[in-house]
């Protein structure tokens, strides 16, 4: 499948082809379909890291691209496509969590997100062992994330899980680059001092 082929599981692609974005902005449906192929897995991964349920992440990804498609004409600079897409995704995730909290509060749902034990073990053809390992990994990440402030967590995730550059993060969060850097340095320092997580990751990598 072309969409899967364009998604590198070890790292994310570089920026989008500005020409492709420009065509999509001018209403070229095929160009937009190509952008969906390139970015859908990356946006899905970004959302999954925050909601921890494959089906919910899929639904939100779908919503993100529909919104992007409808508002493509509002994107004034083609080179800002990636941060623009991520900001839509971030807003959708925030809305999703707000709805979940509302449902939980009013008794309509038993789930509270994010939670490490809500890792979707059934998704993606994972075996039971894979599911356990994934649960363990996201649990470690959550323990570390709990030590960060909301801002630190956002910039850390966008920088090191979603692989955005500092100027892009500043655009996604609508903050100055210096603010993003300050938050990021603090978050990196906390990561470095979290020996348990670092050792876990080194062990997993080996």
């Amino acid at each position: 499948m072309e969409a899967m082929a364009s998604f590198n599981r070890n790292s994310f692609d570089a920026g989008p082809d500005a020409e492709l974005v420009e065509k999509a902005r001018n209403g070229d449906r095929q160009a937009f379909d190509r952008l969906v192929q390139i970015y859908s897995e990356r946006i899905f991964a970004m959302i999954y890291a925050r909601v921890r349920n494959a089906q919910d992440a899929q639904d939100i990804t779908q919503e993100v691209f529909i919104r992007a498609y409808k508002n493509m004409a509002k994107l004034h600079e083609a080179e800002k496509f990636v941060p623009w897409l991520f900001s839509i995704a971030r807003n959708r995730v925030t809305d999703f969590k707000r709805k979940k909290r509302f449902l939980f509060f009013w008794g309509g749902s038993n789930e509270v997100l994010p939670a490490a034990d809500k890792v979707d073990e059934e998704a993606g053809g994972q075996t039971a062992l894979d599911g356990l390992l994934s649960r363990e990994f996201w649990s470690q990440v959550d323990v570390f994330a709990a030590k960060l402030s909301t801002g630190e967590k956002e910039v850390f995730f966008l920088r090191f899980l979603d692989q955005l550059k500092i100027p892009e993060i500043a655009q996604v969060l609508n903050k100055s680059q210096s603010t993003v850097k300050t938050l990021l340095y603090r978050a990196v320092a906390k990561f470095e001092s979290d020996r348990k997580l670092v050792e876990y990751i080194r062990k997993e990598a080996s």
Partner: protein, 201 residues
């Protein structure tokens, strides 16, 4: 910004530069990092840990359950007056339905059965001639004389064929014979009937 705890043993305030280098991923180490192999090594190790974190996150992210499906390409927006055939048809169907219901429920009166043209009027006028006592727009002809049921009952019309059985030449005589029992004391018809009888005599 508060001073960070050092992660190297070189004794300088190098950790901030390490974090900056790792966070910015600027490539070339500058300042203290360029001179201190210990700090440069620490920065490299931290970079490797963060890269491993990214790889692990991807590894523990399932593949998308299905492809992203976009809506069918939107048609260009029409001005508000540019109604398409669908709303017009829907409106017409609704109107027909509402009118049908209104008529069916007796809310809307249709005015009863259509008015029947008075076929007897020319005949009455001919019979009246110049008689000023004639009843004029007398409804007798309309309600009784030319109604087919009466003609059939009176044997003036064949029920099956619909043909009139009377003799066309003696139409007025036949008509007066037929009307005599029904005319009662009406002076107009009585006069005509007497006239007919005297003419026969």
């Amino acid at each position: 910004m508060k001073k960070q705890e050092s992660i190297t043993n070189c004794g300088q305030a190098a950790c901030q530069q390490i974090f900056e280098k790792v966070a910015d991923q600027s490539g070339k180490p500058g300042g203290h990092l360029a001179d201190c192999p210990d700090c440069a090594k620490a920065a490299k190790a931290l970079e490797a840990d963060l890269a491993a974190l990214h790889r692990a996150a991807l590894r523990h992210t399932p593949t998308m359950p299905g492809p992203v499906r976009l809506p069918v390409a939107a048609s260009p927006k029409k001005p508000f007056w540019g109604f398409g055939p669908r709303p017009v048809l829907a409106f017409a169907a609704s109107l027909v339905l509402v009118l049908g219901l209104a008529v069916g429920m007796g809310i809307l009166k249709t005015g009863g059965p259509p008015a029947v043209e008075n076929p007897g009027a020319p005949l009455v006028a001919e019979l009246a001639g110049g008689d000023k006592n004639a009843p004029g727009d007398y409804p007798f002809g309309q309600t009784h004389i030319l109604n087919e049921d009466y003609l059939i009952l009176a044997g003036e019309m064949d029920l099956l064929s619909g043909d009139q059985t009377h003799d066309e030449d003696n139409f007025f005589e036949d008509f007066l014979d037929f009307i005599a029992p029904l005319a009662g004391d009406d002076p107009f018809f009585q006069g005509r009937i007497q006239q007919k009888e005297t003419s026969h005599v």
